[in-house]
């Protein structure tokens, strides 16, 4: 399950940023992917839909608190675990 979350998030980031999924790992910094704050918010929204969770972040905060792909994965895993 938790591997699935990581893979699905990487796939979403890859499609939003037009990047090879294989080139993205937990340690990849979002800044390296040239993802801006609005794209990041879009990705967060897609993740919310996929996992039926609500991430309480506005666009500016998302950029401040999420630096790497792993940060997003950990946040989503926690929210999914809390929901269950």
């Amino acid at each position: 399950m938790s591997k699935d979350i990581e893979a699905s998030i990487i796939a979403l980031i890859a499609s939003s940023g037009e990047i090879e999924a294989g080139a993205i790992t937990r340690d990849t910094e979002l800044a390296e992917l040239e993802i801006d704050s609005l794209v990041l918010t879009e990705i967060v929204m897609d993740i919310e839909d996929q996992h039926d969770i609500e991430i309480d972040l506005n666009t500016a905060e998302a950029w401040e608190s999420l630096k790497t792909v792993g940060d997003i994965v950990d946040m989503v895993k926690k929210l999914v675990a809390d929901k269950n």
């Binding site: 037009e18 609005l38 794209v39 918010t41 879009e42 929204m45 919310e48 839909d49």
Partner: protein, 403 residues
């Protein structure tokens, strides 16, 4: 008053008559009817026809990420703006960005984005609207996107006055040049009316034609809505001359007025004042005008009132001036209408051809003007004016001269 002269050096457009200003003009000369069955999910709409866009480019050249933030009104504005810049021979690096701007008129807003939100939320029960709904919907989106696409860093804003938005946009842009704030302004209008929400609203107003748009014809029964955009490159005469640009026509005068009367029923005095103000600004008399591109919506009220306006301002010259409503061909594209109609006026003075009022069957004694029925006419045209008399009683008229 000694003021800077303003000329037109490029025009672009996309509507039911074609995907660029040359095709649109050719269609106008041929009297082509852009009205077709609606190509959309019409749900419970009673209206079945409209003047939908043709010739949308397979590759619109708009960056994918940028496109996500755009309503269709912004996309067609950028397409028209690119064409206009190309015709004007203006490329990035060849003009001063800080002395260049954009004003795009929009009658409604990003209708496609609003409709999509309602479908998402109410029909598909999604939790939220698309992330870019706000920038897609805003009526200043087209002007912002044109500035982004073309690198225009001077005055950039949207204007709105319902069906006169295009002319008000031209006038606002001309003012920037006349006041010395800019040397180059891209200006025009854009609209998507063939969207469920606006169609449903227009249906309620009961001014839509049953099937055909017949301005000034006794059997006219209303307007046909259309989608489209047109953008012109306006420059100070000195700027255009200095860079050796091909000048298409000069805008010699503009006039505005407000009816201050009724939100939907026009007066004669208001529109007449706008025409007079335009003639005065141009320093010409009514009998010098060879062609009037009428507002000509094909509602009973508009066409009768507009005839009285022309008779009042033109006096005996009203018997000889050529009039036509090109809305009979491209439909009523609301905020884009007068922008598309500038394509008619500019080409009329360049080529000496009056585009026709098509679908005309029966003379109406209350519209006793030479409305150029059904077939274009060759005629020497030095000066043309373009009327736009909108709901709200917001009137704007522009005069162009051959150069």
């Amino acid at each position: 008053m000694n003021q800077r002269r303003v000329v037109i050096t490029g025009m672009g457009g996309i509507c039911a008559l074609g995907g660029n200003s040359d095709d649109i003009w050719t269609s106008m000369k041929e009297g082509r009817d852009g009205c077709r069955p609606l190509e959309m999910e019409t749900r419970d709409l009673k209206v079945t026809t409209g003047c939908g866009i043709v010739g949308y480019p397979e590759d619109d050249g708009i960056d994918k990420r940028q496109s996500l933030t755009m309503s269709g009104i912004s996309r067609i504005s950028v397409i028209a703006a690119r064409q206009a810049m190309k015709q004007a021979g203006l490329e990035a690096g060849e003009f001063n960005p800080q002395r260049s701007g954009a004003v795009v008129g929009v009658g409604i807003f990003g209708t496609d984005a609003v409709d999509q939100s309602y479908v998402d939320i109410f029909l598909e029960k999604k939790k939220r609207a698309h992330i870019f709904t706000v920038p897609r919907v805003m009526p200043s989106g087209p002007s912002g996107h044109v500035s982004i696409a073309m690198g225009l860093q001077g005055p950039v804003f949207g204007v709105t006055s319902a069906c006169a938005s295009g002319n008000h946009a031209f006038i606002s842009a001309i003012d920037q040049i006349r006041l010395g704030r800019a040397d180059v302004m891209l200006a025009g209008g854009a609209e998507l009316a063939l969207v469920y929400g606006p169609l449903k609203a227009w249906e309620s107003l009961r001014v839509l034609a049953r099937s055909v748009c017949r301005p000034f014809s006794a059997d006219r029964d209303g307007l046909v809505l259309g989608d489209g955009a047109a953008i012109a490159v306006l420059e100070s005469y000195e700027h255009a001359k200095a860079r050796g640009a091909n000048i298409l026509a000069e805008i010699i005068g503009v006039g505005m007025s407000g009816d201050a009367s009724d939100i939907v029923n026009p007066t004669v005095e208001g529109p007449a004042a706008a025409v007079r103000n335009c003639l005065a600004d141009a320093g010409i008399s009514a009998d010098q005008v060879d062609y009037i591109n009428a507002h000509g919506t094909a509602t009973q009220t508009n066409d009768q009132t507009e005839t009285r306006v022309i008779r009042e301002v033109f006096g005996s010259a009203a018997d000889t001036v050529s009039v036509s409503s090109t809305k009979s061909m491209h439909g009523h594209c609301l905020g884009a209408s007068s922008a598309i109609e500038l394509i008619a006026c500019v080409n009329a003075v360049r080529e000496g051809v009056i585009p026709p009022t098509i679908n005309y069957t029966t003379p109406d004694p209350l519209c006793d003007l030479d409305v150029t029925p059904n077939v274009a006419r060759e005629k020497k045209v030095d000066i043309a004016i373009s009327n736009a008399f909108a709901f709200g009683g917001t009137n704007a008229v522009i005069a162009v001269r051959k150069i």
